[in-house]
Symmetry: C2
């Protein structure tokens, strides 16, 4: 992608409304623009990151046999009245009346809808276990939306749901999701710590939150040196944390629940068992904050100059800087590199070298290749690693060898 | 994917609520389930088709330099008040008041939002042309939602928008989209006819609809033998259609508009021209009904037994039928084929051969491979082409050669 044709509205100064690094940097790097309170447009650069995160989550869901479907944003109130949550959910639920006076809502989660799908589709114990997920925009009418996409009102969530024949089978399924979450976060370049949690309004008796360790995190975490499970089964309370554990700040990016028959019983879900008797399936639900992760990754990985993307979620792998467009050697070498690197954002615009370097540092692509007239005349370029800042002058071939 | 682990709730009888073939077949084939009036859950099989269509549209948008972004479903009323459309849009707009008494709406289209993005991001003629698109769920509160996903209320649309320096440049851009639309529909296995159209509530003086020819289409079309452009520039009116043109029924799947400065003027968009003077950009917008296309393709391609998917949008390429699970030869050959064909739905369940064949015909995968005990003992399978119904007994290798 050539920057001259891209939409990358960089902001040089720190926006006054942004209190935390990820909000500031996402605005400055032209990744998002606020449309309303807690509602964001995802500009091309931001959307690329969002889609990479979404795809990693999708692959790890598919890998454990979870099936992707898609539930609408608009849900009828009746299903929530059936589960008893319509009144209970309170003001965070965005309630809507359509032109025919039907009561609807913008789904904040989808236990009721997926349970309805299950009860009309699955009739036998042979249909179990069934693991379903979707990646869909949700709305929670937060009273104080803030921190950019970290606490927005319209946000992208992967929400999965499981149906099992017994509590034992359901808990096995629960631990499958637990493992898939650790893998997904690891693939995103994150250290995620699972923390035993309260179940809150979802209900149930077994729950874990997954936290990214970041200085700006909203929660206190207690962990041992290798972030292993040893901690993981404690509620995060300093009094109950084992001696010798360290304290850190965490950002919640996932939350999983086992809640047994809470919804299946309320919504009268039954399947026929092997002996002909009816069985009420045992359920769990499993959320990942996909849009929130974009902010959380930045909180965990940035410096004073900008974002530092882990390679797996970077919007582009390489930022290519033509220091002097119009210079024959610069244009030739840039053209060659641009033609060979698939995931490359090419700054082919006029402008000062300093501004170009600052933009590349700000948007945080893993590799920068700068092509200036003096070294270009000798077939050399400058290769920079954004994470450690190391710069080396190398041949075009050596640079390509490093980034392809 | 093994059918024993999939979610494919087939319905044997025709659902009473479905009046047209696509609605009937999408329900029967377990592709969608109604959640509310004009609101559908996309089950795994339906979602796979939706995503294939979406991806083809995305690739053709990218190919002409249109940049993907994502605008939220919830939009603030203020922007629509600015353009003057908030009152004008009428009851099809789903209006919402949030907990802080802010007036919002579920976007039925996004001219205002994208114009706001443009005016805050682009300041110079050097930023033009700019072509932006997104693939996002929209809501139009139809008074009589019907025909399944063909006239739903919550629907997936690809909507693109262009900004140019002059009318001439804008019309060049318009024809780029026109060409991209023809390519996208062709890749989906469709004959799409562009028809000169009225601009309606979007405004402007140049517009084309794209129609798929199908017996159940809602519009009358007049076309020449090769569906070439010769027709294309007539409004679809029998009186003005050239002599010798044929009449057919069409389903609208795309609509493009050139409307000049209608929104840019109302919303005070300006960029600085090469001579320092301000220029009001000229705009167009370009829609494809992504979820509607799923139904439209079925209307254009089915028979009395079910759907016949064009290969490019088929949910799976191959349906593999194990006629006798438990038979060593059948299991072995099925296992081999399943391991080698990436896009394969494998019916590994117990049940009658007749029911399995009927299911495969209903869901309409391009190829069926049936493995029965007698032919399996000789290393042979039955290969069926869903479109023309041809069946041949061939070796496993020959079947694989045909479908991989």
């Amino acid at each position: 992608m050539k920057l001259s044709q891209y939409l990358l509205p960089i902001i040089k100064e720190n926006p006054a409304e942004a209190q935390i690094a990820s909000h500031r940097l996402m605005l400055r790097a032209g990744m998002v623009r606020q449309l309303g309170a807690g509602i964001y447009n995802w500009l091309p650069l931001g959307l690329r990151v969002l889609k990479k995160i979404e795809q990693i989550v999708r692959e790890e869901m598919d890998a454990i046999g979870s099936l992707e479907l898609l539930m609408p944003t608009m849900q009828p109130a009746e299903l929530w009245q059936e589960s008893g949550r319509y009144e209970a959910y309170g003001k965070e639920m965005l309630r809507i009346v359509d032109r025919s006076e039907r009561q609807m809502l913008f789904g904040p989660t989808a236990e009721e809808v997926v349970t309805d799908i299950f009860r009309t589709s699955c009739k036998s114990y042979k249909d179990l276990p069934k693991m379903l997920y979707n990646i869909q925009w949700k709305f929670r009418d937060e009273v104080r939306p803030r921190f950019g996409v970290m606490r927005g009102r319209e946000f992208l969530m992967k929400d999965a749901y499981s149906f099992d024949i017994s509590e034992e089978a359901a808990k096995e399924t629960y631990w499958k999701y637990h493992g898939a979450y650790l893998k997904a976060f690891e693939r995103m370049g994150l250290k995620a710590v699972p923390v035993r949690a309260n179940t809150g309004p979802i209900g149930g008796d077994l729950s874990h939150e997954f936290h990214i360790v970041a200085k700006t995190g909203e929660s206190a975490l207690y962990y041992n040196d290798d972030f292993s499970y040893a901690m993981a089964d404690e509620m995060h309370d300093p009094k109950t944390a084992p001696a010798g554990f360290k304290e850190a700040r965490g950002i919640e990016v996932g939350h999983i629940f086992y809640f047994g028959d809470k919804y299946s019983k309320a919504m009268k879900v039954k399947v026929q068992g092997p002996d002909g008797k009816e069985i009420v399936p045992m359920m769990g639900s499993y959320g990942i904050g996909v849009s929130r992760l974009v902010g959380a990754i930045i909180e965990a990985s940035h410096d004073e100059n900008g974002i530092i993307w882990p390679e797996a979620v970077a919007p582009f792998k390489v930022g290519l800087i033509n220091i002097k467009p119009g210079d024959a050697a610069c244009d030739k070498i840039c053209g060659e590199i641009y033609g060979k690197v698939d995931s490359c954002l090419y700054d082919d615009r006029d402008g000062s070298a300093g501004a170009k370097f600052a933009t590349m540092d700000l948007i945080g692509l893993p590799w920068q290749i700068a092509v200036g007239p003096r070294s270009a005349a000798n077939g050399m370029v400058e290769l920079k690693n954004r994470r450690n800042g190391e710069k080396v002058e190398v041949s075009v071939e050596a640079a390509l060898g490093k980034v392809i």
